[in-house]
């Protein structure tokens, strides 16, 4: 079951944004996210907004999805008007974007280029399912302008893949990395998940080693979260599988960080490591740096100039709104100064570069000494006027944020 949307105020039918938001977004880097809400099968841990063919029934066709997405892009162009600017990044996520023909993804990229323009060094990424991506498909992605590919590897260990309901064969993601390199992708990411039930320390090490051997320049490693409403949550509630233990998750994180660092990767966000600064995912950095992005697709979230909004979740409702000439937004929120501050601290602190001390509100600044004393923030970075997390601090980032926001 996909997770629920936030509660917010209603969004206007024409999708118009307040003038102040457009004004604030002027000059801020801009990206486009495209959500492809389709999967061949649902994984037991996943609560993303995605649907199998059986779940959708005949009312929604994958084949026409790209056309619907183009409608939303044109709406975006109209809403943004003078605030529009060339996209620095485009990211296709899902779901399984590679379930669609590469030409469909290419159509969308081309439309973005025509409507907004793409910066010369634009980063264009798609997530990919290791089982469905062939060398020919990769070639077509390259031809469509994609520069980066993110492969859902999750684990190299069969029993862990089984617990996670992942259907690809072990070893397959590593092949895709090689194929991607051969096709000319400069940037390749592998996604890993740790802390699955029954995963041992050795299992996790095997996954990390396999991922490193494949030679990507970026690795994301996420602690398994048991999301409400998923098959995994039901199994945990029923006592069929054990819930992940926080202390074990902490051990696995440390193991990942040490292994990746030893292999020349550097963390740049709590769950992301890159081989060089140039290998960082610039699209994700937009999210963390309060930049603007338009989320295309069902359930996609957007942010422009302090307004966040989110689309209706169901692909049929999404398509119906756009075909009727209406905005598919289900709700939105206009951030006030306090919410902006909270977000700035909450997002900034998760990154290696951290947060300028001057961005921390006054009462929270008084907590920094304790945070350093507890070993959560790097004292040397403090000397340079920045709050940057230590390894232990990354594991306790939410607690750090609460301290920094003391009294707000």
């Amino acid at each position: 079951m996909p997770s629920a949307l936030p509660t917010g105020e209603p969004a206007p039918a024409d999708g118009r944004l307040p003038g102040a938001a457009l004004y604030a977004a002027y000059d801020v880097p801009f990206g486009v996210y495209v959500h492809i809400p389709f999967c061949e099968a649902r994984c037991g841990y996943c609560d993303f907004n995605t649907y199998t063919a059986t779940e959708l029934g005949p009312s929604v066709s994958r084949g026409s999805f790209a056309d619907t997405a183009l409608l939303e892009l044109r709406l975006a162009r109209e809403v943004l008007r003078q605030a529009q600017q060339p996209a620095t990044t485009v990211f296709f996520g899902g779901g399984t974007p590679t379930i669609l023909p590469a030409e469909h993804l290419g159509l969308i990229v081309r439309e973005i280029g025509e409507l907004f323009g793409l910066t010369p060094d634009a980063e264009i990424t798609t997530e990919a399912n290791p089982e469905s991506v062939t060398p020919a498909y990769l070639d077509r992605l390259r031809a469509a302008g994609f520069t980066r590919i993110s492969i859902g590897m999750q684990s190299a260990v069969p029993r862990v893949l089984e617990v996670l309901d992942r259907r690809h064969r072990p070893g397959r993601p590593e092949h895709v990395v090689a194929d991607a390199h051969a096709a000319g992708f400069e940037h390749v990411n592998l996604d890993l998940i740790y802390g699955a039930p029954y995963e041992s320390e050795a299992d996790w090490q095997a996954s990390l080693d396999a991922a490193l051997d494949a030679g990507p320049d970026h690795i994301s490693a996420y602690a398994l979260v048991v999301e409400q409403g998923t098959a995994l949550a039901r199994q945990v509630a029923a006592g069929v599988v054990p819930a992940p233990d926080d202390d074990v998750l902490a051990d696995r994180y440390v193991q990942a960080d040490e292994t990746l660092q030893a292999a020349g990767f550097e963390w740049y966000e709590v769950s992301n490591w890159a081989r060089s600064t140039g290998a960082r995912c610039r699209h994700n950095e937009l999210y963390w740096r309060d930049a603007s992005w338009w989320g295309i697709g069902p359930g996609a979230h957007s942010h422009v100039g302090g307004v966040r909004w989110w689309n209706v979740k169901h692909p049929a409702r999404y398509a119906a709104a756009l075909e009727a000439g209406r905005s598919p937004a289900a709700g939105r929120e206009v951030l006030d100064a306090r919410a902006k501050l909270t977000e700035k601290v909450m997002l900034g602190v998760r990154m290696r570069d951290g947060l300028a001390l001057t961005d921390v509100p006054e009462p929270g600044r008084g907590r920094v000494g304790d945070l350093a004393g507890w070993g959560l923030v790097d004292p040397r970075a403090l000397d340079a006027g920045r709050v940057s997390l230590t390894q232990r601090g990354r594991l306790l980032a939410d607690a750090v944020v609460r301290e920094l926001l003391t009294g707000t």
């Binding site: 998750l249 979230h301 989110w310 919410a339 909270t342 507890w374």
Partner: protein
């Protein structure tokens, strides 16, 4: 022809329903005005089926046997061990008592205790079995039991159904025939006894009295004999069932008076009222200052409610002469009040009224009794709060209050009751069979041992059939110690307790393990210790937290995560700091909540 009587009954045995039927039969309340439990005024009384404040009502009745018109004064007495003194004053205002017992359950300890009190006051007892309409009624069996207890014939036990009204008119006739008329001298200096006193926001204090000698008239000055204070009688009258002013009250009459005072302390239960111009020389006797038996700290959950709590206590005090309180502060709980109560029910009622009538959220600390501590230098301390326990000084002797308890239960549970009392440091004083299958056990027990979960335990060990009553019986020397609970070496005052030496370890281990599960993990390891002085008797450990971060935070997660964070920040505001340790308010509440439940929490059917 005046007849003053009260009804002695256990909760649930149908006292208020019987009163309702009498009000209807005598025509004092007509069917249109009638509501259930007419005399119980407070919501809390109706809901719990208990009487907290005494009520009285004047009813006319023409005896169907003699044709003579009578004036019946029924005084509805409080029904709980906490209010024994108030009960005794109500009884002293009567010449007779209806002993009302459920025909399906038999007599209960509290009823028996009140019966003994009535017999001490020389009241004429009319034994009555109620609920004879119930299929489970065993009138033969319980009539025999009642006859055995009061020494009458089983045939003399009247059988009624307050619910259907069956036998209630016969009971009224019997009251006219058997209960003696009041005796007093109309010419003597006026004397009346106060058996209750309630505060009314419109009229000030309404004082319920029973006139013994002489006559009281409106506008004369009266004097309270315990204090010598004089007041003008603004109004005097009878209650039937609403207050009705009259031109005075004479010998034997029961009614009310209003003087304009604003605090029940100026018009105290048990005091004697006399004519200020022609004062009596001797009071009626039996007056006693209310003495708190149980103390507890009351704290507002939201610290900014402290002034509200103070105002609320000031208001409740107007109507509750037994409530005492003084400000105190706790490092853990902030500012609050140390309050003294007559007993646990009294505590619960006050707390519930504060929460309900004044919309306050409160934490109460574990209740404790009053200890007297002698140091080796012979100086004496009275300890009403574990924080006041002398520290670092040589204690010579400690005295704790004890009670004489009476337990009635089916005889098959004797063993397990004895085991319970034994474990609570009780001494068996005697045991009587009320009938073949029911037994009365008499124990001396430390009050401290019964204010927690004793009654719950008794109920569960007797499958709900056991009943309990007790009265204060002085004090005894005991081996008591103060157990402190420390978080990271800092004592948490709210968790300190005075316990018997043999139970210190049990308290320490249960409290430390409870807290280990209630206090969230912190940035550092937190040892939890229980200690007597500097000697640690139990220890637990909360390991430092290692993970508190969401793995993912992308476009769609931001709003959700910010809202979660805002919620967590709210939660953090409700944290109390103990040294460096953040303790959620809920942990205090959960750690302090005991499974205490007093007899009265059973609801009336």
């Amino acid at each position: 022809m005046i007849r003053n009587f009260c009804i002695i009954a256990h909760i649930d045995h149908g006292k208020s329903t019987l009163a309702d039927r009498m009000l209807q039969l005598t025509g004092v309340v007509d069917a249109r005005q009638m509501r259930a439990q007419y005399l119980d005024r407070m919501d809390i009384e109706r809901e719990r089926g208990i009487t907290i404040k005494a009520q009285n009502v004047r009813m006319p009745w023409r005896s169907r046997q003699t044709g003579v018109d009578h004036i019946l004064h029924m005084i509805d007495t409080p029904g709980h061990v906490d209010f024994t003194y108030e009960v005794s004053r109500s009884l002293a205002a009567c010449e007779g008592a209806v002993l009302l017992v459920d025909a399906a359950q038999g007599i209960e300890a509290q009823t028996l205790a009140n019966l003994y009190l009535a017999l001490e006051n020389d009241l004429h007892i009319i034994p009555v079995l109620n609920k004879i309409d119930l299929p489970a009624a065993q009138p033969e069996r319980y009539a025999a039991e009642l006859a055995h207890i009061i020494g009458c014939d089983a045939d003399e036990v009247l059988r009624v159904s307050a619910k259907t009204g069956e036998g209630v008119d016969a009971l009224l006739d019997l009251i006219c025939r058997e209960i003696p008329a009041p005796v007093g001298s109309p010419e003597a200096a006026p004397r009346a006894m106060i058996f209750d006193s309630v505060y009314d926001i419109y009229r000030g204090v309404i004082t319920y009295i029973r006139v013994v000698d002489g006559h009281f008239s409106p506008r004369e000055r009266i004097r309270m004999m315990s204090t010598g204070a004089t007041h003008e009688l603004l109004e005097i009258g009878v209650i039937s069932p609403e207050p009705k002013p009259t031109d005075g009250l004479g010998v034997g009459e029961v009614g009310y008076l209003i003087t304009g005072v604003k605090d029940v302390r100026q018009s105290r239960v048990g005091d004697t009222v006399t004519d200020a111009a022609k004062p009596a020389t001797e009071s009626l006797g039996g007056y006693r200052d209310p003495k708190p038996m149980v103390y507890s700290g009351l704290y507002p959950i939201d610290g900014s409610d402290y002034p509200l709590l103070r105002d609320a206590l000031d208001r409740l005090r107007l109507n509750d002469a037994a409530l005492v309180y003084e400000p105190e502060s706790s490092a853990a709980l902030g500012f609050g009040f140390r309050c003294g109560f007559l007993g646990l029910l009294h505590l619960e009622i006050v707390r519930e009224r504060l929460e309900r009538e004044f919309d306050l959220d409160l934490i109460s600390t574990a209740p404790n009794v009053v200890y007297r501590v002698y140091l080796e230098d012979a100086s004496e301390f009275v300890v009403t709060n574990p924080s006041d326990w002398p520290v670092g000084q040589k204690i010579a002797e400690v005295y704790e209050p004890v009670v004489k308890a009476m337990i009635i239960a089916p005889s098959e549970y004797i063993g397990s009751i004895m085991e319970l009392c034994q474990s609570r440091r009780g001494t068996l004083n005697g045991m009587d069979y009320l009938s073949e299958s029911r037994v009365e056990l008499r124990y001396t027990l430390p009050l401290a041992e019964i204010i927690f979960d004793f009654f719950d335990q008794l109920k569960s060990r007797t499958r709900g059939y056991g009943s309990l009553d007790y009265e204060a019986a002085g004090e005894q020397q005991a081996d008591l110690v103060k157990v402190d609970i420390l978080l990271q070496g800092e004592p948490v005052d709210a968790f300190s307790a005075i316990v018997h030496k043999d139970k210190a370890y049990g308290y320490g281990t249960s409290m430390t393990s409870k807290l280990r599960t209630l206090i969230p993990r912190q940035q550092f390891e937190v040892p939890i210790q229980a200690a007597i002085g500097s000697r640690v008797i139990a220890r637990e450990n909360i390991r430092a937290i290692r993970k508190d971060v969401l793995a993912k935070c992308y476009g769609g997660d931001i709003t959700r995560k910010r809202k979660l964070l805002e919620k967590q920040k709210e939660g953090k505001k409700r944290m109390k700091m103990v040294g460096r340790v953040e303790v959620p308010q809920e942990a205090f509440i959960a750690a302090l909540s005991t499974s205490e439940a007093v007899e009265a929490s059973a609801k009336k059917s």
